[in-house]
């Protein structure tokens, strides 16, 4: 029966079990004790952190594929600088609210596989201490060149240029993108593929339309020649109307 | 020797406490100085070997009455008293005159009348007699009726206080005298 104060005792029992339990089975303690790192052993620059893609300083807690931290540049398979997607259009620089992106356009164009030669960013710096990871640059970039990376261990003893990531530190390959954000990467590639397919289809259609127009033009020329010959024989009263209708008809074709 | 110095210190504390209590413009300061006065008095009681009374004094006055007055001040207005409002009532000069005359005319001569007593019964004996147990026995045996009446008085007074302070039925519309 509900003994007076039984609730309190039950509660106390629970806390006691926790208290004792925490000393004996370790999994209870869900907060890992964060390894303490001596300042000297920390890399001087945020960029110095291991470059091999995906390799963190320490196997910390699993990074879910929704975690976003700071942006990174993408390049397709092959040598990074050749297949870099970014064409230094500087839209992201303009759109970035805290103005933490700095781009300098190259003066020469570089050949792009399957595309006409484009500019490329000579320097592309992001000041990580300023960036607020709002992801606006990713949304505005027309060329899917910039996406969010999930690496967070970027602490350095030097606050100023230590936290400035250069183009080299930012550039990452598409496979790495697929590794850390599989779903989003897949969506993004599919969308790029679709755009390309749509463009070709449109190009084909355009050519087909051009040939069709040429054929139509020749047929018309013939028919007009016959028509002129008949008109001299008929009365001249109605020439203006037919001409306007004729134009309209032509446009709608 | 230290007993005399103690007396003078405590007397000074009490007098200054009392003076500040009635002189201070800011009420809360006044109340705190009143509490200092009570503490000073408790010390004086200790000097006079009425140990239990000193403790009760602190318990009742310094503890309860102090808080009660503070609550009362909180419930009424004009606490800081900073505004240019006159602190003393009209004709307060007469007040001082009368107070002084009461002291000079009424109290001093009577004190002169009382014979000078300087060899009080020694303190050990008093301390032995005025234990709390003795007080308790006295309270029960000869003064039990006064104790009961006192209890009755306290309950009646407090119930009265509650009803007075609570005021009328809250639903009633308050009429304020312009």
């Amino acid at each position: 029966m509900n003994l007076l104060g039984a609730g309190i005792l039950k509660g106390m029992a629970v806390t006691l079990k926790n208290f004792i339990g925490s000393y004996f089975d370790k999994e209870r303690l869900n907060t890992l004790e964060y390894m303490w790192q001596n300042d000297k052993s920390l890399p001087k620059r945020a960029g110095d952190y291991p470059k091999e893609e995906g390799e963190q300083l320490r196997p910390t807690t699993t990074v879910t594929n929704y975690s976003r931290n700071f942006p990174m540049l993408l390049h397709d398979d092959g040598e990074p600088m050749d297949t870099i997607r970014c064409v230094a259009c500087q839209i992201c620089e303009r759109e970035c609210p805290p103005q933490c992106i700095y781009i300098e356009k190259s003066d020469d164009k570089k050949e792009r596989p399957g595309g006409k030669p484009q500019f490329y960013p000579a320097t592309f710096d992001i000041d990580v201490s300023v960036c607020m990871s709002c992801q606006i640059c990713v949304e505005v970039c027309p060329f899917d060149a910039i996406v969010m990376n999930s690496q967070f261990e970027l602490s350095t003893p030097d606050r100023f240029n230590g936290l400035l990531l250069k183009r080299g530190d930012l550039l990452k390959s598409n496979q790495y993108y697929h590794k850390i954000h599989p779903e989003e990467a897949a969506d993004r590639d599919k969308r790029i593929a679709d755009d390309k397919a749509a463009k070709e289809a449109k190009k084909k259609a355009a050519e087909a339309a051009k040939e069709a127009k040429k054929k139509a033009a020749e047929a018309k020329a013939k028919s007009e020649a016959e028509a002129n010959s008949k008109e001299e024989s008929k009365d001249p009263s109605e020439p203006p109307q037919t001409s306007t209708e004729h134009n309209k008809e032509e446009n709608t074709e | 020797m230290n007993e005399v110095t103690a007396f003078w210190i405590l007397a000074a504390i009490a007098v200054i406490g009392a003076l500040f209590a009635i002189r201070k413009r800011n009420l809360v300061h006044g109340v705190f100085s009143l509490l200092v006065f009570f503490a000073g008095l408790a010390g004086l009681f200790l000097l006079l070997l009425a140990e239990f009374i000193a403790v009760v004094q602190i318990l009742v006055y310094a503890g309860a009455v102090g808080i009660l007055i503070l609550f009362a001040i909180m419930l009424t207005d004009r606490v800081t008293g900073k505004d240019a409002f006159r602190v003393t009532s009209r004709g307060s000069f007469w007040g001082t005159i009368i107070a002084a005359s009461v002291f000079l005319v009424l109290l001093l001569p009577t004190i002169q009348e009382i014979p000078q007593v300087d060899n009080p019964s020694n303190s050990e004996e008093i301390v032995k007699q005025s234990t709390v147990k003795a007080l308790g026995k006295k309270l029960i045996h000869p003064y039990v009726i006064t104790l009961e009446i006192l209890a009755l008085l306290l309950t009646a007074a407090l119930i009265g206080a509650v009803t007075a302070a609570q005021g009328g039925h809250p639903a009633k519309k308050k009429i304020s005298i312009e």
């Binding site: 007076l4 926790n18 208290f19 303690l29 004790e33 | 809360v28 239990f52 310094a62 808080i67 147990k133």
Partner: protein, 391 residues
Amino acid sequence: MNWELIKDILLATVPLLVIFPTMFALTTWVERKALARIQNRIGPNKVGVPMSRYGGKLSLFGLGQPAADGIKMLFKENIVPTGADRLFHLLAPILSLIPAMLVLCFLPLNFPWLTDEQNSVKAFMLDGAVIFFFAITGLNTLAVFMAGWASRNKYSLLGGMRAIAQMVSYEIPLVLSAVVVVMTVGSLNAGEIAKSQDGWNWFVFSPWGLAAFIIFFIASLAETNRSPFDLPEAESEIIAGYFTEYSGFKFALFFLGEYIAMFAISGLAVTLFLGAGDGPGAEAYPSLKVIWFLAKICVLIGIMIWLRGTLPRLRVDQLMSFAWKFLMPLSILNIFITGFAWHAENNNEEYGFTIKAIIWTASLLILYLTAKGLDKVNRANIKPRTYQYGE
């Protein structure tokens, strides 16, 4: 200057100033660690001595934490809000510390190096010690008010008022449950109370004593604003109540005052109910008494911390109605029961054990039933919550 007196006084007081503040520091550490453990986390372990040469750190199991807090408090900027009463703003923490300290020195700690006839000790063997305790704890409310008022901000004033209301209403069950012990012992002197409990017949082992101890313990929790009753200083309520505007050392003083008050009240509980200084080896080695006394205090502190980990905070009205409508009637009833039990026990010793059993069952039964009844009455108008917009 008679040095003899001064030496005695120092002998009596300095140990207090040493022992209890250190215990304060330890308690803060124990409290944070224990709470952490209860909440399945480790608790402070980062503070340590940086050993550059080893490249690591001597973690000292977080024992450095209290020191770190202390130092932090010292160096924190001491902000006084504009328009505040500077004098009382400063005076409040001091006034909250003094009564706690005063109560400590009257506890029957019977330090081994103090012999009874030294007049300093005699001075402390106050005749009306228990009443003195309650008088002094009464002053604590004053300090709270002064803090609330002096910091010139509405929330702290409100917090102060709430704290006072809580302390005043819990003082009554506190005093009434102490009355039970005074009644049986027949004297207010702490020493005599301690002496009368020698040889394991602590008051807690008598039915009414147990009930009184429980009530006393709950009321003491409220007096020192601890665990379920820490409404006035709850961050979520009114931003830490009356010591919102305090920072730096004054805040530390409040903190210290609160803990010392905790020690004092539990010390009182120990003297009244748990046979101060009485333990297995107490008769043989009198110096053990202090150890037992402090051990018992630590046990009570432990329980308080444990309670802090488990119980949610009480709302103001629940808090007040709990005091007035539950604890007070019970403690008054307890006084009656003590009277009957005491007489029943003394008048017919010859029955021995049976009368004890009868008394135990009878009094506990009565107390328990009245408690149930009161609970039912208080809970009468608590109906299940009705949601206006919810389902």
